[in-house]
Amino acid sequence: MSHLISKAASGLNYKWRRSLSTYLFALPYFLFMVAFGLGPGIYAFLISFADFKSGVPRYFAAGLKNYVTAFSDFRFLDTMTNIAEFLVVSVPLGIALVVLIALLLHMRPGRLSSALRTLYFIPGAVTGPALLLLAIFMFSPAMSPFGFIQRALGYDSFDLLIAPERLPIIFTVIGFFSGAGMWIAIQYGALEGVSTEVLEAAKIDGCNAWQQALYIKFPLIRPYIIYQFILIFAGNIQLFVEPQLMGTTWISANVPQQWAPNQLAYSFAFDLGNFGAAAAMSLLMLAVGLGAAYFVIRWTGFFDIKA
């Protein structure tokens, strides 16, 4: 009897040891996830109910006041409208053009296609202040290689070109320059995954390259397009760097100090010291991001994990 118990005990010991080492593999990552992935979200939630009037957070002292402060700020509605306009312009355009370029490149895979993909990708290295620097020069009709187009359209100076009503398209142009290359590479990769047998069968049936692209390739990369939609949507809602740098580096009446919602959050935090209201704004943006994440997980079956 006792040898059965000791056998069972040693079995348990063995399983326990194996489980322990398994968890150890994932533990550091889990800790970092809590600290830097989940933690900020949870902490922001806490902070949004804290009172910062005395400079030090008094948790739960503010109730919903921070939310009211944030959402009733005179700039709130403007920032929301701005970002909505930006999304309406940048998301459909961004996706349509990326998919178009990827399809066109894939029609004739070869050295030219490969070289072009690299060229389209390199601007992704230009970000932050370097990107803004470039943008300011590209949008100055006097200095830009595109100047002749701008002057032909009637914009003779930077100030004329960068008017508030044109900011959504301006930021789209800047963002596409920097971000499209990576997405083109991703969609091209997705196209590479389309079964060659299907394509060949279609070709035999008389399908030309354009029909192939439209009726076979395009539908088959749908999951990736959806994925791109969600990520670009969630990412563009967070627009901060370009309007912030443009607003502060080039002080002009045309770019309001808080154009995008994220800038408003930033202003609450660092101009007013009201981290509670900033957290409320952050949470709003986070909620939209989570909503997008939820959609992607449902729509693309991301959770079909091979067990």
Partner: protein, 318 residues
């Protein structure tokens, strides 16, 4: 289906020759489509390429030439040397301090990030343990959350533990690399012989030994890809470090570049915060920008081997 010339015709007519030529050159795209495709791709090549070309040429033109000369003209080598000197002179060559910081931050978060991500992705792929599915869910969710939504709460969090304004405020958050874990997971899921692992387990092999002798060696191709993605994301990281760092000696390149440009007259003509500061011109700003961009381009070109077209999708076409 190719047209066959009737046996009776000895020489093809001009029309037939044209048709053959058309089919060979334009294939199934067709002549109209061929030129349309070419035109569109060329337009985009100009859209992406001209600003880059301008940036490359900008350090060669002084502030008058940059307006008066053709935007794509080359100015003079003297100006290039001048702008190099000016950039170096800014606060006694602070740009190189920033460059060094950037390298330290990027390499540190790369090493730490990979050290925690690869084992995690590996164990998610090969072992069944309670909490595995939730961990995968969480990885995906956090992967899709835009980092800029987290910067402010992250700032407050790090403030609590007094890490603000230290290198750790930049390095540590960057070590959380859910995309890397997911890629590793997908990679191991599709490339590891699970039966082999089970057999070894039955023979009493520990998880750690399995990882060390089977998992790790298999990871080599993955390392290159992860390193490239991590480098790209962290070298250009602006928003986080901008919020976390106050001390200009700790700035990475993007933040330093921003502070340099914002305080000079390169962008705001006539505005000069620091009297006595060398007159910073557009050429100098462009030169500084190039210093920031060139390493990324070099790393990209070097790592082309690992980033083959569809590698980003994490799936291997069988």
């Amino acid at each position: 289906m190719s047209e066959t010339t009737p046996l009776t015709d000895a020489t093809p007519t001009a029309l037939q020759r044209l048709k053959v030529f058309s089919r060979r050159t334009f294939g199934d795209i067709g002549p109209v489509g061929y030129f349309l495709r070419f035109a569109i791709l060329l337009l985009f090549a100009l859209y992406f390429g001209l600003p880059l070309l301008w940036l490359l040429l900008a350090p060669s033109k002084d502030q008058f030439e940059i307006i008066s000369l053709n935007p794509l003209a080359f100015g003079s080598w003297t100006t290039v040397i001048e702008s190099w000197k000016n950039v170096n002179a800014y606060v006694h060559g602070e740009i190189w301090l920033w460059f060094g910081n950037s390298v330290i931050y990027v390499v540190s978060s790369l090493l730490i990030g990979m050290a925690i991500s690869i084992p995690a992705g590996y164990i998610l792929a090969v072992a069944r343990f309670p909490g595995r599915i939730p961990l995968l869910w969480l990885t995906l969710i956090t992967m899709l959350l835009p980092p800029s939504a987290m910067v402010l709460p992250l700032f407050l969090e790090l403030n609590l533990v007094h890490l603000i304004n230290t290198a750790w405020a930049v390095i540590l958050p960057a070590c959380f690399f859910p995309f890397g874990v997911y890629l590793t997971y997908v990679y191991y899921s599709s490339s590891l012989p699970v039966d082999l692992l089970d057999a070894a387990r039955v023979d009493g092999c520990s998880e750690w030994l399995l990882f060390r002798f089977i998992g790790l060696p298999l990871a080599k191709p993955l390392l290159g890809l992860l390193a490239f993605i991590s480098f790209n994301a962290n070298w250009n990281n602006f928003f986080g470090p901008w919020v976390m760092l106050n001390n200009s000696k700790l700035y990475n390149l993007p933040v330093g570049l921003q502070s340099m440009i914002a305080s000079t007259s390169a962008i705001r003509p006539g505005f000069n915060t620091t009297p006595g500061l060398l007159k910073f011109q557009q050429a100098d700003a462009a030169m500084a920008g190039l210093i920031m961009i060139v390493p990324v381009v070099i790393v990209f070109l070097i790592s082309q081997r690992y980033v083959v077209g569809g590698a980003f999708t994490g799936s291997v076409k069988g």
